[in-house]
């Protein structure tokens, strides 16, 4: 598998982008993640699933560099990743959305999505204030990218609407827009469909597939809804009580006895 593989629908998946090696994460006495290893490959949609409290979000936070595991190592693009601050992670081309939406509520959708471009803006405070010249040109260039994302996610009609006024499903989409505006090479989605109705879920699924298809973005997502995950992802990691209990294509995972037990529930010793 080192050279990648070809998915059922004929997409070519490349080599390993990120690799987790024997990750263990503890919060005091609580072990959130126990000795987990897996990899994420170029261009694939990789899902992490599991019941409540399985450690999915902790895992995503490890990937994003927000949590530093006590044991194990994270390799990004072949190199072991040192401890980094969130903005440093963002500069590495990793963008994410949050389970509990983290947007600037009082700002318009456009401004929120523009914040996704901050890494690309070089002008300083004074230049921005003076505005004419460099800052203006820079904003125009970045606005162009942002407008493409707005068009892509079909949120033109709320461009100038303050985020606070939007319904939940749209806020999720705005969050995705902000992440996309950063033109990430790896996109992390934390429960992108939580709390959505069927129609919103279908819309979101289509956008996720389109993002992957159109920009070739590698996507790692956490999701609760098994149906959605199985339809979307190329490979799935299943977690339960901080352990990895399955890893493979949706079909393999679906037939894995441990996974079935975890979801249907058996007594844990």
């Amino acid at each position: 598998m080192e050279e990648g593989y070809v998915t059922e629908d004929g997409r070519k998946i490349g080599g390993v982008v990120m690799e987790m090696k024997n990750i263990t994460l503890r919060f005091g006495g609580v072990v959130a993640i126990k000795d987990i290893s897996f990899d994420i490959r170029q261009g694939e949609i990789r899902a992490i699933i599991g019941p409540n409290g399985a450690g999915k979000s902790s895992m995503l936070n490890v990937i994003s560099g927000f949590y530093v595991p006590q044991e194990g190592q994270v390799f990004y693009q072949g190199k072991p990743r040192p401890q980094m601050r969130p903005y440093e992670v963002a500069r590495q081309g990793i963008a994410r959305t949050f389970q509990n939406i983290a947007l600037f509520e009082g700002m318009s959708v456009l401004d929120n999505v523009m914040t996704g471009r901050l890494n690309y803006m070089k002008t300083g405070l004074f230049q921005q204030a003076w505005w004419k010249g460099k800052a203006e040109q820079e904003e125009t260039e970045n606005r162009e990218v942002v407008e493409k994302v707005i068009d892509f996610l079909e949120i033109q009609h709320i461009r100038k609407t303050p985020v606070a006024r939007l319904p939940y499903g749209l806020k999720k989409r705005v969050e995705l827009a902000r992440a996309l505006a950063a033109e990430p090479s790896l996109l992390l989605l934390d429960e992108p469909m939580a709390g959505m109705n069927v129609e919103e879920k279908e819309d979101m699924s289509r956008f996720i597939l389109d993002v992957n298809d159109e920009f070739g973005t590698t996507i790692a997502l956490i999701e609760h809804d098994m149906g959605v995950v199985m339809d979307l992802s190329d490979r799935v990691v299943v977690m339960d009580y901080g352990k990895k209990i399955g890893d493979g294509t949706p079909d393999e995972v679906r037939n894995n006895q441990d996974v079935i037990d975890a979801y249907l529930g058996v007594a844990h010793d």
């Binding site: 629908d9 004929g10 493409k148 707005i150 068009d151 033109q156 279908e202 159109e214």
Partner: protein
């Protein structure tokens, strides 16, 4: 260009007679002169395009908002784009006489497709983009479309879903490549690639293209449009260049349209009105067609463009008025007081000022002040800051709504038309605008009322035929060219204006022999902002009953203000307070219906507020939002029975179709409401 259908002497001659022939003798000469200029070559859309590309080369022809910016194409650029596409189509193998279906929302590229199709001798067939795959299959199969030009993945998917039923289909062209990468591209082509190939093969095909363009005459088919099908399957209405260009020419003269107009094209491309405004008139006059960014941004785009010539069905005007009123409720005290004060003044004199009637100096000055303080900013917010002529048609518009816009100084008028007439049958001339009539016969249109009240017309816009349906053609259009509209109405003796009563086939008799005209009552009900839709029953019965749909926006807002909690449309629709207020409306309507001696039998005795909105996806309405009476009658037969048998409540289950085509069911227990009926002095039914 002056409107020649003012209060001319000719029209008065016909006072009281059934036939109205417009047009003065001097007009005949003028018309001849123009027809000759038509003979000089302007007999097809490509010919008009060529003229515009030469004469108005640098004028904007199309604008579309994309990526947050209005992108523009001049006539010269548009002509180049269209030519490239036409060459590409020939390159793909399009033959003369092929049908090319065009599916998508209003975009310049799709308008170009229609003209490019005609350039290569093919026939464009715009299809409603919100049709379900099955509906689409019927239309595409009926015309035997060989090519489809679709906007995006969604539309392509629908076509591919039903491609087994489409034996003629050869190639599908799509505009937006998003999500299309993984599709099998043997018969799928991207629009821009087709254009590129066309440009590349310029030398190879240009003689062929010129030859094909040269063969187009005034009688070549310009477009085929499917009727929305209030009854049964849609019919393909074939319109010739003569129909389209003559209609565009006459209507443009009537309102003095010039090449400086700006219009916003947002109504379905498959609808005849959009074809006439955005292609017919746009090409004839050479004005600019502006396409909104997406369906949901229409209101913002309207404001940004500020069209000078605008068309909208009543529901758009209703929606805007409702949102203005709601927002004014939330405004500060001073603003609200000022708004209401000046609006009252506008109501008093605004209409008269617009109509050029004498108004006192003081009132005029106050109106001017109001214009600076209220009307002007309001019009600007609504997007009507520059409007010269506005039309509404399709359904009756509430008199209050109509008067509201007119009083602000917006020249909103009504017209009455049909696909078969290439839109125009009657139009309201400036200065003769009323809410309850649809105006006088449009230029070159003759009107005749039959004994049974059905309206017939004859005009240069009369359609060629229903495609592959000689039987329907013969029953609609007689050998002399008179077309039956299917609407019942009469010409007002004193003004010469046409008044529509209802669909002729819907007009019936009640058990007592009184006239039953459901639309008349339904429209009165629908004029209340919290009633979205109403359906009246009573043909052959002794009394009338009604179904009512509440308007979720208006009633929802009211509920919020009054601290009424609700979880769903169904719950709100069944709320006792809502039912009470609807009952008040029904009773008021009964009073006003009772005043009309001809229709006093149509008062609503009992009614029910339905648990679901009537919807086109469930087949209860057409795509143009007209109620399909028979289907509603069958589907809710149990509720109608309950309305007549005196039950207090009815439990019912209804099948619903979701937007993606899946089916579900909703059940509800509905309370049946009684309404007071106004007394009518016993009298004989007025004989016509």
């Amino acid at each position: 260009m002056t409107p020649y259908l003012g209060a001319g002497p000719n029209r008065d001659q016909n006072r009281g007679t059934a036939i109205v022939r417009p047009g003065r003798p001097e007009r005949e000469e003028k018309k001849l002169a123009q027809t000759q200029s038509g003979a000089a070559g302007l007999q097809s859309l490509p010919a008009l395009l060529e003229r515009n590309a030469t004469e108005f080369a640098d004028q904007p022809a199309y604008r579309e908002k994309e990526f947050g910016i209005w992108q523009a194409w001049t006539w010269a650029q548009a002509a180049k784009e269209i030519e490239a596409l036409a060459l590409g189509l020939i390159n793909l193998g399009v033959q003369e006489g092929d049908f090319i279906a065009i599916i998508g929302r209003n975009r310049p590229y799709l308008y170009w497709s229609m003209v490019a199709a005609q350039s290569v001798g093919a026939i464009p067939v715009p299809v409603y983009n919100d049709s379900a795959a099955e509906e689409m299959a019927y239309v595409l199969d009926h015309c035997g479309a060989r090519y489809v030009i679709a906007e995006d993945q969604e539309q392509v998917d629908k076509v591919l879903d039903v491609q087994e039923q489409l034996h003629e289909l050869k190639h599908v062209i799509y505009l937006d490549p998003r999500g299309m990468r993984k599709y099998d591209h043997h018969t799928l082509h991207q629009y821009s690639h087709v254009q590129e190939q066309g440009r590349a093969a310029y030398d190879e095909w240009i003689t062929d293209l010129n030859e094909r363009r040269g063969k187009l005459t005034y009688d070549s088919t310009c477009v085929m449009l499917y009727t929305s099908g209030t009854t049964g399957k849609p019919k393909g209405v074939v319109l010739s260049n003569r129909n389209v260009i003559e209609s565009a020419k006459n209507s443009a003269d009537f309102d003095g349209l010039t090449r400086n107009e700006d219009i916003l094209s947002y109504l379905p491309m498959a609808w005849v009105g959009d074809f006439i405004f955005s292609i017919g008139q746009a090409y004839w006059c050479g004005f600019c067609v502006n396409c909104p960014e997406s369906q949901d941004t229409m209101m913002t785009d309207l404001r940004e463009i500020g069209p000078t010539y605008f068309f909208a069905p009543p529901r758009v005007f209703e929606g805007q008025l409702t949102s203005v009123m709601i927002r004014m409720e939330d405004a500060g005290n001073l603003k609200r007081k000022m708004f209401h004060h000046f609006l009252t003044h506008a109501k008093k004199v605004g209409g008269d000022i617009l109509d050029g009637k004498p108004v006192g100096l003081l009132d005029r000055l106050k109106y001017k002040l109001g214009d600076i303080l209220v009307y002007g900013p309001l019009k600007d917010t609504l997007g009507y800051g520059r409007i010269r002529v506005g039309y509404t048609a399709g359904e009756a518009i509430g008199p209050e709504i109509f008067d509201f816009y007119r009083s602000l100084g917006i020249n909103l008028k009504q017209l009455y038309g049909q696909t078969e007439a290439t839109v125009f049958i009657t139009v309201q001339p400036d200065g003769e605008v009323r809410a309850d009539t649809v105006g006088v016969p449009a230029p070159d249109v003759e009107i005749r009322i039959d004994d049974n009240g059905e309206i017939h017309y004859r005009s240069p816009g009369v359609f060629v035929e229903y495609y592959k349906n000689a039987e329907s053609t013969a029953s609609t259009k007689d050998p002399e060219g008179w077309v039956a509209t299917g609407d019942a109405g009469f010409i007002e003796a004193d003004s010469g204006h046409l008044r529509i009563i209802d669909r002729a086939k819907d007009v019936g008799k009640m058990a007592s022999g009184a006239m039953f005209a459901p639309k008349y009552v339904e429209n009165k009900l629908k004029f209340y902002p919290d009633i979205l839709e109403a359906v009246l029953f009573g043909n052959g019965k002794d009394r009338c009953v009604a179904f009512i749909n509440i308007d979720l926006t208006a009633v929802g807002n009211w509920a919020e203000r009054n601290n009424i909690a609700y979880a769903s449309y169904q719950e709100l629709a069944g709320h006792p307070k809502v039912l009470e207020s609807i009952r008040d409306h029904v009773e008021e309507v009964n009073k006003s219906v009772a005043a009309d001696e001809m229709l006093s039998g149509c008062q609503v005795h009992r009614f029910v507020v339905l648990h679901k909105e009537l919807d086109a996806d469930d087949g209860e309405m057409t795509r143009t939002r007209k109620v399909r009476r028979r289907i509603v009658e069958d589907k809710f037969a149990d509720i109608i029975t309950a309305l007549y048998d005196g039950s207090e409540q009815i439990s019912t289950t209804t099948e619903v179709t979701y937007e993606d085509g899946r089916k579900g069911a909703i059940s509800a227990t509905l309370t049946i409401m009684d309404a007071k009926v106004a007394q009518v002095a016993p009298q004989q039914v007025a004989a016509e």
